[in-house]
Protein backbone atom coordinates (compact mmCIF):
# COMPACT_ATOMS: atom_id res chain seq x y z
CA UNK A 1 0.00 0.00 0.00
CA UNK A 2 1.91 3.04 -1.28
CA UNK A 3 1.15 6.18 0.75
CA UNK A 4 2.02 9.79 0.09
CA UNK A 5 4.53 9.93 2.91
CA UNK A 6 6.83 7.14 1.75
CA UNK A 7 6.64 8.18 -1.92
CA UNK A 8 7.94 11.61 -0.91
CA UNK A 9 10.62 9.93 1.20
CA UNK A 10 11.69 7.77 -1.75
CA UNK A 11 11.84 10.85 -4.01
CA UNK A 12 13.94 12.80 -1.52
CA UNK A 13 16.22 9.83 -0.99
CA UNK A 14 16.81 9.40 -4.73
CA UNK A 15 17.04 13.08 -5.83
CA UNK A 16 17.99 14.84 -2.60
CA UNK A 17 19.14 18.39 -3.30
CA UNK A 18 18.02 18.46 -6.94
CA UNK A 19 14.35 18.80 -5.92
CA UNK A 20 12.37 20.77 -3.32
CA UNK A 21 9.00 19.37 -2.20
CA UNK A 22 6.04 21.56 -1.21
CA UNK A 23 2.67 20.39 0.08
CA UNK A 24 -0.16 21.40 -2.25
CA UNK A 25 -3.71 22.41 -1.40
CA UNK A 26 -4.35 19.37 0.80
CA UNK A 27 -2.78 16.16 2.06
CA UNK A 28 -3.22 14.43 -1.30
CA UNK A 29 -1.46 16.90 -3.62
CA UNK A 30 2.30 17.45 -3.53
CA UNK A 31 4.42 19.67 -5.82
CA UNK A 32 8.03 18.78 -6.60
CA UNK A 33 10.09 21.70 -7.96
CA UNK A 34 13.06 20.69 -10.13
CA UNK A 35 16.14 22.86 -9.65
CA UNK A 36 17.45 21.94 -13.11
CA UNK A 37 15.11 21.12 -16.01
CA UNK A 38 17.44 18.39 -17.33
CA UNK A 39 16.30 16.01 -14.57
CA UNK A 40 12.70 15.96 -15.85
CA UNK A 41 13.11 12.73 -17.84
CA UNK A 42 14.76 10.93 -14.96
CA UNK A 43 12.17 11.84 -12.32
CA UNK A 44 9.18 11.22 -14.61
CA UNK A 45 10.66 7.85 -15.62
CA UNK A 46 11.23 6.96 -11.95
CA UNK A 47 7.67 7.91 -10.96
CA UNK A 48 5.96 6.31 -14.00
CA UNK A 49 7.99 3.15 -14.49
CA UNK A 50 9.30 2.29 -11.03
CA UNK A 51 6.58 3.58 -8.69
CA UNK A 52 3.71 2.76 -11.12
CA UNK A 53 2.09 6.19 -11.24
CA UNK A 54 -0.42 7.01 -13.98
CA UNK A 55 0.51 9.99 -16.16
CA UNK A 56 -2.38 12.41 -15.97
CA UNK A 57 -1.49 15.40 -18.12
CA UNK A 58 1.07 18.19 -18.54
CA UNK A 59 0.29 21.87 -18.02
CA UNK A 60 2.02 24.92 -19.44
CA UNK A 61 2.02 28.22 -17.53
CA UNK A 62 3.63 31.31 -19.01
CA UNK A 63 5.61 33.39 -16.45
CA UNK A 64 7.53 36.68 -16.93
CA UNK A 65 10.83 35.29 -18.11
CA UNK A 66 10.25 31.49 -18.00
CA UNK A 67 7.58 28.93 -18.98
CA UNK A 68 6.56 26.52 -16.20
CA UNK A 69 5.99 22.97 -17.46
CA UNK A 70 4.10 20.78 -14.95
CA UNK A 71 3.94 16.98 -15.15
CA UNK A 72 0.93 15.64 -13.20
CA UNK A 73 1.25 11.99 -12.12
CA UNK A 74 -1.53 10.25 -10.19
CA UNK A 75 -1.38 7.23 -7.91
CA UNK A 76 -4.75 5.41 -7.91
CA UNK A 77 -4.81 3.59 -4.56
CA UNK A 78 -8.37 2.66 -3.50
CA UNK A 79 -9.33 4.95 -0.63
CA UNK A 80 -6.34 7.27 -0.59
CA UNK A 81 -5.04 8.08 -4.03
CA UNK A 82 -2.76 11.13 -4.38
CA UNK A 83 -1.18 13.33 -7.05
CA UNK A 84 2.48 14.31 -7.47
CA UNK A 85 3.17 17.27 -9.79
CA UNK A 86 6.73 17.77 -11.06
CA UNK A 87 7.50 21.40 -11.98
CA UNK A 88 10.27 22.34 -14.44
CA UNK A 89 11.14 25.96 -15.23
CA UNK A 90 12.13 26.57 -18.86
CA UNK A 91 13.82 29.96 -19.44
CA UNK A 92 12.06 32.14 -21.95
CA UNK A 93 14.01 33.37 -24.95
CA UNK A 94 14.17 29.93 -26.57
CA UNK A 95 12.07 27.59 -24.37
CA UNK A 96 13.09 23.97 -24.95
CA UNK A 97 13.06 20.83 -22.81
CA UNK A 98 13.51 17.07 -23.33
CA UNK A 99 10.41 15.16 -24.34
CA UNK A 100 8.92 12.39 -22.18
CA UNK A 101 6.76 10.95 -24.98
CA UNK A 102 9.15 8.01 -25.44
CA UNK A 103 8.65 7.06 -21.77
CA UNK A 104 4.89 7.75 -21.78
CA UNK A 105 3.24 7.44 -25.23
CA UNK A 106 0.15 9.20 -23.84
CA UNK A 107 2.15 12.44 -23.60
CA UNK A 108 2.55 12.83 -27.38
CA UNK A 109 -0.46 15.04 -27.97
CA UNK A 110 -0.15 17.31 -24.92
CA UNK A 111 3.46 18.11 -25.78
CA UNK A 112 2.37 19.12 -29.28
CA UNK A 113 -0.39 21.29 -27.79
CA UNK A 114 2.01 23.03 -25.39
CA UNK A 115 4.40 23.59 -28.30
CA UNK A 116 1.54 25.12 -30.33
CA UNK A 117 0.26 27.40 -27.56
CA UNK A 118 3.47 28.26 -25.64
CA UNK A 119 6.20 27.76 -28.25
CA UNK A 120 8.06 25.29 -25.96
CA UNK A 121 10.19 22.99 -28.15
CA UNK A 122 10.31 19.37 -26.88
CA UNK A 123 13.63 17.89 -28.01
CA UNK A 124 13.26 14.32 -29.31
CA UNK A 125 9.50 14.44 -29.92
CA UNK A 126 8.69 12.13 -32.90
CA UNK A 127 6.52 14.68 -34.84
CA UNK A 128 6.37 18.07 -33.14
CA UNK A 129 3.73 19.77 -35.31
CA UNK A 130 0.86 21.93 -33.95
CA UNK A 131 -2.00 19.76 -32.67
CA UNK A 132 -5.01 22.05 -33.16
CA UNK A 133 -3.75 23.71 -36.34
CA UNK A 134 -6.64 26.09 -36.96
CA UNK A 135 -5.64 27.08 -40.47
CA UNK A 136 -6.41 30.76 -40.15
CA UNK A 137 -3.82 31.41 -37.40
CA UNK A 138 -0.38 32.74 -38.52
CA UNK A 139 2.54 30.51 -37.52
CA UNK A 140 4.13 32.91 -35.05
CA UNK A 141 0.95 33.64 -33.05
CA UNK A 142 1.04 31.92 -29.64
CA UNK A 143 -2.18 32.89 -27.82
CA UNK A 144 -1.13 31.68 -24.38
CA UNK A 145 2.13 33.61 -24.19
CA UNK A 146 2.36 36.22 -21.45
CA UNK A 147 3.25 39.14 -23.78
CA UNK A 148 0.11 38.44 -25.80
CA UNK A 149 -2.10 37.61 -22.83
CA UNK A 150 -1.16 40.53 -20.57
CA UNK A 151 -3.08 43.12 -22.45
CA UNK A 152 -6.42 41.53 -23.24
CA UNK A 153 -7.05 44.20 -25.86
CA UNK A 154 -3.97 43.14 -27.76
CA UNK A 155 -5.65 39.78 -28.33
CA UNK A 156 -8.57 41.48 -30.01
CA UNK A 157 -6.17 43.45 -32.29
CA UNK A 158 -4.21 40.32 -33.15
CA UNK A 159 -7.51 38.55 -33.67
CA UNK A 160 -8.74 41.32 -35.99
CA UNK A 161 -5.54 40.91 -37.97
CA UNK A 162 -6.37 37.27 -38.37
CA UNK A 163 -9.95 37.99 -39.47
CA UNK A 164 -9.09 40.47 -42.22
CA UNK A 165 -6.54 38.13 -43.75
Amino acid sequence: MITVKDTIKKLEAKFGSRISVQKGANEKQYFVLLKDKQDNREIVKYLFKDLGARFNIMTGIDGRDYVEVLYHLTFDIPGNGFIITVKALVEKPLPNIDTVSDIITGAKWIEREIYELFNVKFKGHPELIPLLRSDTRPADYFPFQREVKDTHISIREKEKGVKEK
Binding site: A25, I57, W109, H152
Partner: protein
Protein backbone atom coordinates in the same frame (compact mmCIF):
# COMPACT_ATOMS: atom_id res chain seq x y z
CA UNK B 1 -12.37 8.46 -56.58
CA UNK B 2 -12.38 12.21 -56.37
CA UNK B 3 -11.88 14.00 -53.07
CA UNK B 4 -15.14 14.37 -51.19
CA UNK B 5 -15.46 17.50 -49.03
CA UNK B 6 -18.67 17.14 -47.01
CA UNK B 7 -19.02 20.09 -44.67
CA UNK B 8 -21.31 18.89 -41.95
CA UNK B 9 -24.06 16.95 -43.63
CA UNK B 10 -26.37 15.84 -40.90
CA UNK B 11 -26.07 12.28 -39.78
CA UNK B 12 -28.09 10.53 -37.10
CA UNK B 13 -24.78 9.80 -35.37
CA UNK B 14 -23.75 12.88 -33.47
CA UNK B 15 -21.25 14.50 -35.85
CA UNK B 16 -18.49 16.61 -34.48
CA UNK B 17 -15.49 17.62 -36.53
CA UNK B 18 -12.84 14.98 -36.10
CA UNK B 19 -10.70 13.54 -38.83
CA UNK B 20 -9.11 10.07 -39.00
CA UNK B 21 -6.86 8.78 -41.76
CA UNK B 22 -6.48 4.99 -41.92
CA UNK B 23 -3.54 3.55 -43.87
CA UNK B 24 -4.90 0.36 -45.32
CA UNK B 25 -3.38 -2.67 -47.02
CA UNK B 26 -6.17 -4.51 -48.74
CA UNK B 27 -8.80 -4.54 -45.99
CA UNK B 28 -6.68 -4.37 -42.83
CA UNK B 29 -5.70 -1.08 -41.22
CA UNK B 30 -1.97 -0.61 -40.77
CA UNK B 31 -1.63 2.96 -39.45
CA UNK B 32 -3.89 5.80 -38.36
CA UNK B 33 -3.27 9.57 -38.23
CA UNK B 34 -5.72 11.69 -36.33
CA UNK B 35 -6.39 15.38 -36.44
CA UNK B 36 -8.56 17.13 -33.87
CA UNK B 37 -9.16 20.71 -32.95
CA UNK B 38 -11.93 21.75 -35.29
CA UNK B 39 -14.08 22.97 -32.42
CA UNK B 40 -11.20 24.33 -30.32
CA UNK B 41 -12.68 27.41 -28.64
CA UNK B 42 -9.84 28.47 -26.37
CA UNK B 43 -11.83 27.93 -23.16
CA UNK B 44 -8.83 28.04 -20.85
CA UNK B 45 -8.09 31.63 -21.87
CA UNK B 46 -11.70 32.61 -21.30
CA UNK B 47 -11.82 31.24 -17.76
CA UNK B 48 -9.00 33.61 -16.77
CA UNK B 49 -11.41 36.50 -17.27
CA UNK B 50 -14.13 35.04 -15.07
CA UNK B 51 -14.53 35.09 -11.30
CA UNK B 52 -14.51 31.87 -9.28
CA UNK B 53 -18.32 31.67 -9.34
CA UNK B 54 -18.69 32.36 -13.07
CA UNK B 55 -16.24 29.69 -14.24
CA UNK B 56 -18.65 26.71 -13.65
CA UNK B 57 -21.05 28.16 -16.26
CA UNK B 58 -18.25 28.36 -18.82
CA UNK B 59 -16.67 25.02 -17.94
CA UNK B 60 -19.96 23.12 -18.11
CA UNK B 61 -20.39 24.09 -21.78
CA UNK B 62 -17.21 22.32 -22.88
CA UNK B 63 -19.26 19.27 -23.88
CA UNK B 64 -22.95 18.63 -23.94
CA UNK B 65 -22.94 15.06 -22.70
CA UNK B 66 -20.74 15.45 -19.62
CA UNK B 67 -21.86 18.91 -18.56
CA UNK B 68 -21.85 18.07 -14.85
CA UNK B 69 -18.40 16.46 -14.67
CA UNK B 70 -16.32 19.50 -15.63
CA UNK B 71 -17.88 21.98 -13.14
CA UNK B 72 -17.83 19.26 -10.45
CA UNK B 73 -14.08 18.64 -10.85
CA UNK B 74 -13.47 22.40 -10.94
CA UNK B 75 -15.44 22.91 -7.71
CA UNK B 76 -13.52 20.09 -6.02
CA UNK B 77 -10.28 21.91 -6.94
CA UNK B 78 -11.53 25.24 -5.57
CA UNK B 79 -12.80 23.59 -2.38
CA UNK B 80 -9.42 21.86 -1.92
CA UNK B 81 -7.61 25.18 -2.34
CA UNK B 82 -9.98 27.08 -0.03
CA UNK B 83 -10.19 24.17 2.42
CA UNK B 84 -14.01 24.48 2.40
CA UNK B 85 -16.23 21.67 3.74
CA UNK B 86 -19.38 20.88 1.72
CA UNK B 87 -22.58 20.33 3.75
CA UNK B 88 -23.87 16.74 3.98
CA UNK B 89 -27.05 17.28 1.92
CA UNK B 90 -25.15 18.99 -0.89
CA UNK B 91 -22.88 15.92 -1.17
CA UNK B 92 -25.86 13.64 -1.78
CA UNK B 93 -27.49 16.04 -4.26
CA UNK B 94 -24.24 16.20 -6.21
CA UNK B 95 -24.03 12.39 -6.28
CA UNK B 96 -27.63 12.10 -7.53
CA UNK B 97 -27.23 14.57 -10.39
CA UNK B 98 -23.80 13.14 -11.31
CA UNK B 99 -25.08 9.57 -11.56
CA UNK B 100 -28.22 10.60 -13.48
CA UNK B 101 -25.93 12.30 -15.96
CA UNK B 102 -23.83 9.13 -16.27
CA UNK B 103 -27.02 7.22 -17.10
CA UNK B 104 -28.04 9.82 -19.67
CA UNK B 105 -24.57 9.75 -21.30
CA UNK B 106 -24.25 5.96 -21.40
CA UNK B 107 -27.77 5.57 -22.88
CA UNK B 108 -26.95 8.18 -25.52
CA UNK B 109 -23.88 6.21 -26.54
CA UNK B 110 -25.87 2.94 -26.54
CA UNK B 111 -28.33 4.38 -29.05
CA UNK B 112 -25.62 5.71 -31.34
CA UNK B 113 -23.66 2.45 -31.18
CA UNK B 114 -26.84 0.52 -32.00
CA UNK B 115 -27.37 2.72 -35.06
CA UNK B 116 -23.75 2.30 -36.07
CA UNK B 117 -24.06 -1.49 -36.11
CA UNK B 118 -27.30 -1.30 -38.07
CA UNK B 119 -30.06 -1.67 -35.49
CA UNK B 120 -32.05 1.52 -36.05
CA UNK B 121 -34.84 0.39 -33.77
CA UNK B 122 -32.38 0.08 -30.88
CA UNK B 123 -31.37 3.69 -31.53
CA UNK B 124 -34.98 4.85 -31.29
CA UNK B 125 -35.90 2.71 -28.28
CA UNK B 126 -32.86 3.51 -26.17
CA UNK B 127 -33.29 7.24 -26.82
CA UNK B 128 -36.93 6.88 -25.86
CA UNK B 129 -35.92 5.47 -22.45
CA UNK B 130 -33.28 8.15 -22.09
CA UNK B 131 -36.06 10.74 -22.05
CA UNK B 132 -37.08 9.40 -18.60
CA UNK B 133 -33.60 10.22 -17.26
CA UNK B 134 -33.78 13.67 -18.85
CA UNK B 135 -37.15 14.28 -17.17
CA UNK B 136 -35.61 13.36 -13.81
CA UNK B 137 -32.68 15.71 -14.45
CA UNK B 138 -34.97 18.50 -15.53
CA UNK B 139 -37.07 18.18 -12.39
CA UNK B 140 -34.12 18.20 -10.01
CA UNK B 141 -31.95 20.81 -11.74
CA UNK B 142 -34.23 22.79 -14.04
CA UNK B 143 -32.57 21.95 -17.36
CA UNK B 144 -32.14 18.80 -19.47
CA UNK B 145 -28.36 19.30 -19.63
CA UNK B 146 -26.10 22.26 -18.67
CA UNK B 147 -27.55 21.96 -15.18
CA UNK B 148 -25.70 24.93 -13.54
CA UNK B 149 -26.26 23.07 -10.31
CA UNK B 150 -22.86 22.75 -8.67
CA UNK B 151 -20.90 25.75 -7.31
CA UNK B 152 -17.75 26.02 -5.19
CA UNK B 153 -18.96 25.19 -1.67
CA UNK B 154 -22.15 23.30 -2.46
CA UNK B 155 -25.15 23.16 -4.75
CA UNK B 156 -27.42 25.81 -6.21
CA UNK B 157 -30.80 24.01 -6.21
CA UNK B 158 -32.21 21.76 -3.50
CA UNK B 159 -34.17 18.55 -4.15
CA UNK B 160 -37.53 19.15 -2.45
CA UNK B 161 -39.43 16.42 -0.58
CA UNK B 162 -42.18 16.05 -3.19
CA UNK B 163 -39.60 15.26 -5.87
CA UNK B 164 -38.26 12.14 -4.19
CA UNK B 165 -41.24 9.76 -4.73
CA UNK B 166 -41.47 10.92 -8.37
CA UNK B 167 -37.74 10.25 -8.87
CA UNK B 168 -38.04 6.77 -7.35
CA UNK B 169 -41.05 6.02 -9.56
CA UNK B 170 -39.07 7.03 -12.66
CA UNK B 171 -36.15 4.86 -11.60
CA UNK B 172 -38.41 1.85 -11.07
CA UNK B 173 -39.83 2.48 -14.54
CA UNK B 174 -36.31 2.56 -16.05
CA UNK B 175 -34.86 -0.47 -14.22
CA UNK B 176 -36.64 -3.26 -16.19
CA UNK B 177 -35.73 -1.53 -19.45
CA UNK B 178 -32.04 -1.46 -18.52
CA UNK B 179 -32.16 -5.15 -17.57
CA UNK B 180 -33.82 -5.95 -20.89
CA UNK B 181 -31.13 -3.94 -22.70
CA UNK B 182 -28.39 -5.85 -20.86
CA UNK B 183 -30.03 -9.21 -21.70
CA UNK B 184 -30.37 -8.18 -25.35
CA UNK B 185 -26.71 -7.17 -25.64
CA UNK B 186 -25.23 -9.93 -23.50
CA UNK B 187 -26.69 -12.89 -25.35
CA UNK B 188 -27.36 -11.68 -28.87
CA UNK B 189 -25.22 -14.00 -31.04
CA UNK B 190 -24.86 -11.42 -33.80
CA UNK B 191 -23.50 -8.81 -31.39
CA UNK B 192 -21.09 -11.34 -29.88
CA UNK B 193 -19.77 -12.32 -33.28
CA UNK B 194 -19.71 -8.68 -34.35
CA UNK B 195 -18.03 -7.06 -31.35
CA UNK B 196 -15.98 -9.76 -29.64
CA UNK B 197 -12.26 -9.56 -30.33
CA UNK B 198 -12.62 -6.35 -32.33
CA UNK B 199 -10.26 -3.44 -31.64
CA UNK B 200 -8.54 -5.02 -28.65
CA UNK B 201 -6.61 -2.74 -26.29
CA UNK B 202 -4.36 -4.88 -24.09
CA UNK B 203 -3.70 -3.94 -20.46
CA UNK B 204 -0.07 -2.93 -21.14
CA UNK B 205 -1.10 -0.69 -24.05
CA UNK B 206 -3.83 0.83 -21.89
CA UNK B 207 -1.31 1.64 -19.16
CA UNK B 208 1.16 3.05 -21.64
CA UNK B 209 -1.45 5.29 -23.28
CA UNK B 210 -2.88 6.18 -19.83
CA UNK B 211 -6.45 5.59 -20.98
CA UNK B 212 -9.23 6.34 -18.52
CA UNK B 213 -12.74 5.42 -17.52
CA UNK B 214 -14.71 2.60 -19.17
CA UNK B 215 -12.01 2.21 -21.84
CA UNK B 216 -9.45 1.38 -19.12
CA UNK B 217 -11.84 -0.69 -17.03
CA UNK B 218 -12.65 -2.77 -20.14
CA UNK B 219 -8.95 -3.63 -20.44
CA UNK B 220 -8.60 -4.82 -16.87
CA UNK B 221 -7.27 -1.64 -15.21
CA UNK B 222 -9.17 -1.21 -11.97
CA UNK B 223 -9.27 2.61 -11.66
CA UNK B 224 -12.20 4.81 -10.69
CA UNK B 225 -11.75 8.29 -9.30
CA UNK B 226 -14.88 8.02 -7.13
CA UNK B 227 -13.24 5.17 -5.21
CA UNK B 228 -9.48 5.87 -5.55
CA UNK B 229 -9.62 9.60 -4.74
CA UNK B 230 -12.73 9.63 -2.54
CA UNK B 231 -14.66 12.86 -2.34
CA UNK B 232 -18.13 14.02 -1.21
CA UNK B 233 -20.76 11.32 -0.85
CA UNK B 234 -19.06 8.38 -2.61
CA UNK B 235 -17.24 6.92 0.42
CA UNK B 236 -20.56 6.92 2.32
CA UNK B 237 -22.37 4.79 -0.30
CA UNK B 238 -21.73 1.18 -1.27
CA UNK B 239 -21.37 0.43 -4.96
CA UNK B 240 -18.74 -1.49 -6.91
CA UNK B 241 -16.50 -0.72 -9.88
CA UNK B 242 -17.15 -2.85 -12.97
CA UNK B 243 -13.92 -4.23 -14.47
CA UNK B 244 -13.64 -6.62 -17.43
CA UNK B 245 -10.53 -8.14 -18.96
CA UNK B 246 -10.96 -8.59 -22.71
CA UNK B 247 -10.40 -4.96 -23.79
CA UNK B 248 -12.41 -5.37 -27.01
CA UNK B 249 -15.38 -3.36 -28.20
CA UNK B 250 -17.80 -5.83 -26.62
CA UNK B 251 -16.38 -5.42 -23.11
CA UNK B 252 -16.31 -1.62 -23.55
CA UNK B 253 -20.05 -1.79 -24.21
CA UNK B 254 -20.64 -4.30 -21.39
CA UNK B 255 -18.76 -2.14 -18.84
CA UNK B 256 -21.04 0.78 -19.65
CA UNK B 257 -24.17 -1.34 -19.44
CA UNK B 258 -23.28 -2.73 -15.99
CA UNK B 259 -22.23 0.72 -14.78
CA UNK B 260 -25.74 1.93 -15.49
CA UNK B 261 -27.02 -0.43 -12.80
CA UNK B 262 -24.39 0.81 -10.33
CA UNK B 263 -25.46 4.40 -10.98
CA UNK B 264 -29.07 3.47 -10.31
CA UNK B 265 -27.99 1.95 -6.99
CA UNK B 266 -26.09 5.12 -6.02
CA UNK B 267 -29.04 7.39 -6.83
CA UNK B 268 -31.44 5.21 -4.83
CA UNK B 269 -29.18 5.09 -1.77
CA UNK B 270 -28.54 8.85 -1.89
CA UNK B 271 -32.28 9.56 -2.09
CA UNK B 272 -32.78 7.48 1.08
CA UNK B 273 -29.82 8.84 3.03
CA UNK B 274 -30.48 12.51 2.32
CA UNK B 275 -31.34 14.44 5.50
CA UNK B 276 -32.67 18.02 5.45
CA UNK B 277 -30.01 20.67 5.99
CA UNK B 278 -28.14 23.55 4.33
CA UNK B 279 -27.04 22.98 0.76
CA UNK B 280 -24.16 25.43 0.47
CA UNK B 281 -21.61 27.18 2.62
CA UNK B 282 -20.22 30.11 0.68
CA UNK B 283 -16.47 30.34 0.09
CA UNK B 284 -15.52 33.84 1.17
CA UNK B 285 -12.14 34.09 -0.49
CA UNK B 286 -9.74 31.76 -2.26
CA UNK B 287 -6.17 31.93 -0.88
CA UNK B 288 -3.10 32.06 -3.08
CA UNK B 289 -1.83 28.70 -4.36
CA UNK B 290 -2.64 25.90 -6.79
CA UNK B 291 -4.88 22.83 -6.60
CA UNK B 292 -6.10 19.91 -8.67
CA UNK B 293 -9.66 18.53 -8.93
CA UNK B 294 -10.46 15.05 -10.26
CA UNK B 295 -13.87 13.57 -11.04
CA UNK B 296 -15.02 10.36 -12.79
CA UNK B 297 -16.94 11.59 -15.86
CA UNK B 298 -18.94 9.07 -17.93
CA UNK B 299 -15.98 8.75 -20.28
CA UNK B 300 -13.19 8.81 -17.68
CA UNK B 301 -11.37 11.09 -15.26
CA UNK B 302 -11.66 14.82 -15.86
CA UNK B 303 -8.70 16.82 -14.60
CA UNK B 304 -8.87 20.48 -13.53
CA UNK B 305 -5.82 22.43 -12.33
CA UNK B 306 -6.29 25.95 -11.00
CA UNK B 307 -3.76 28.49 -9.78
CA UNK B 308 -4.81 31.63 -7.97
CA UNK B 309 -2.88 34.67 -6.75
CA UNK B 310 -5.45 35.54 -4.06
CA UNK B 311 -7.53 37.71 -6.41
CA UNK B 312 -11.10 36.78 -7.36
CA UNK B 313 -10.09 35.30 -10.71
CA UNK B 314 -7.94 32.23 -11.51
CA UNK B 315 -4.69 33.16 -13.25
CA UNK B 316 -4.34 29.71 -14.84
CA UNK B 317 -6.99 27.03 -15.38
CA UNK B 318 -6.00 23.81 -17.13
CA UNK B 319 -8.80 21.46 -18.27
CA UNK B 320 -8.27 17.95 -19.66
CA UNK B 321 -11.29 15.96 -20.82
CA UNK B 322 -11.04 12.16 -20.61
CA UNK B 323 -11.37 11.73 -24.37
CA UNK B 324 -8.07 13.55 -24.81
CA UNK B 325 -6.25 10.40 -23.66
CA UNK B 326 -8.76 7.85 -24.95
CA UNK B 327 -8.76 9.06 -28.57
CA UNK B 328 -5.00 8.57 -28.75
CA UNK B 329 -5.47 4.86 -27.93
CA UNK B 330 -7.06 4.45 -31.37
CA UNK B 331 -3.55 4.26 -32.74
CA UNK B 332 -3.16 0.85 -31.18
CA UNK B 333 -6.66 -0.56 -31.05
CA UNK B 334 -7.37 0.05 -34.75
CA UNK B 335 -4.26 -1.51 -36.23
CA UNK B 336 -4.96 -4.95 -37.69
CA UNK B 337 -8.71 -4.48 -37.72
CA UNK B 338 -10.46 -4.49 -41.07
CA UNK B 339 -11.83 -1.35 -42.56
CA UNK B 340 -15.48 -1.94 -41.85
CA UNK B 341 -14.64 -2.11 -38.12
CA UNK B 342 -12.49 1.02 -38.22
CA UNK B 343 -15.34 3.42 -37.52
CA UNK B 344 -16.77 1.16 -34.85
CA UNK B 345 -13.50 1.02 -32.89
CA UNK B 346 -12.95 4.77 -33.00
CA UNK B 347 -16.52 5.24 -31.77
CA UNK B 348 -16.24 2.43 -29.21
CA UNK B 349 -14.64 4.49 -26.45
CA UNK B 350 -17.37 7.09 -26.97
CA UNK B 351 -14.99 10.04 -27.61
CA UNK B 352 -16.43 13.38 -26.52
CA UNK B 353 -16.17 14.44 -30.15
CA UNK B 354 -17.87 11.19 -30.90
CA UNK B 355 -17.73 11.24 -34.61
CA UNK B 356 -15.70 10.09 -37.55
CA UNK B 357 -16.92 12.89 -39.78
CA UNK B 358 -14.35 12.29 -42.41
CA UNK B 359 -12.18 9.28 -42.70
CA UNK B 360 -9.98 8.63 -45.62
CA UNK B 361 -8.34 5.31 -46.25
CA UNK B 362 -4.99 5.61 -47.98
CA UNK B 363 -4.17 2.69 -50.27
CA UNK B 364 -0.58 2.61 -51.42
CA UNK B 365 -1.26 1.70 -55.03
CA UNK B 366 -4.69 3.22 -55.58
CA UNK B 367 -5.35 6.94 -55.09
CA UNK B 368 -6.80 7.35 -51.62
CA UNK B 369 -10.57 7.18 -51.47
CA UNK B 370 -12.49 9.14 -48.89
CA UNK B 371 -15.16 7.42 -46.87
CA UNK B 372 -17.61 9.71 -45.19
CA UNK B 373 -18.50 8.89 -41.58
CA UNK B 374 -21.77 7.58 -42.92
CA UNK B 375 -20.10 5.27 -45.38
CA UNK B 376 -18.24 3.83 -42.44
CA UNK B 377 -21.52 3.29 -40.66
CA UNK B 378 -22.74 1.42 -43.74
CA UNK B 379 -19.67 -0.79 -43.88
CA UNK B 380 -20.15 -1.81 -40.27
CA UNK B 381 -23.86 -2.46 -40.81
CA UNK B 382 -23.10 -4.77 -43.71
CA UNK B 383 -20.76 -6.75 -41.56
CA UNK B 384 -23.55 -7.17 -39.04
CA UNK B 385 -25.83 -8.34 -41.84
CA UNK B 386 -23.28 -10.89 -42.99
CA UNK B 387 -22.65 -12.22 -39.52
CA UNK B 388 -26.33 -12.53 -38.69
CA UNK B 389 -26.82 -14.56 -41.90
CA UNK B 390 -23.97 -16.90 -40.98
CA UNK B 391 -25.46 -17.40 -37.55
CA UNK B 392 -28.87 -18.15 -38.99
CA UNK B 393 -27.29 -20.75 -41.26
CA UNK B 394 -25.53 -22.38 -38.30
CA UNK B 395 -28.73 -22.42 -36.29
CA UNK B 396 -30.64 -23.99 -39.14
CA UNK B 397 -27.92 -26.63 -39.50
CA UNK B 398 -28.11 -27.39 -35.80
CA UNK B 399 -31.89 -27.64 -35.96
CA UNK B 400 -31.59 -30.05 -38.89
CA UNK B 401 -29.25 -32.29 -36.91
CA UNK B 402 -31.55 -32.10 -33.89
CA UNK B 403 -34.60 -32.90 -35.96
CA UNK B 404 -32.92 -36.00 -37.51
Amino acid sequence: MAKIIPTGPFHPILEEPEFFKFHVEGETITKIDMRIGYSHRGIELLSEEKTWDQVPFLVERICGICSFSHPYAYCLAVEALAGAEVPERAKYIRAIVAELERLHSHLLWMGLAGHFIGYNTVFMWVWKWREIVLDALEMTTGNRNHYANVKPGGVRRDIEEYMIPQLQQWLDELEPKLDMLIKVVMDDPVLHARLKGVGVLTKEQAIDYCVLGPTARASGIDIDVRRDHPFDAYPLLDWKVVVLEAGDVFSKAAVRLLENLESMKIVRQSLKKMKPGPIVNEIKEVPEGEAIGLYEAPRGETFHYIRSDGSNMPIRHKVRAPSYMNILSNEVSCVGADLSDGGLITAAHDPCYSCTERLSAVRDALPDFVLDGKELAKLSREKTGRISKEIQQENSKIEKELSK
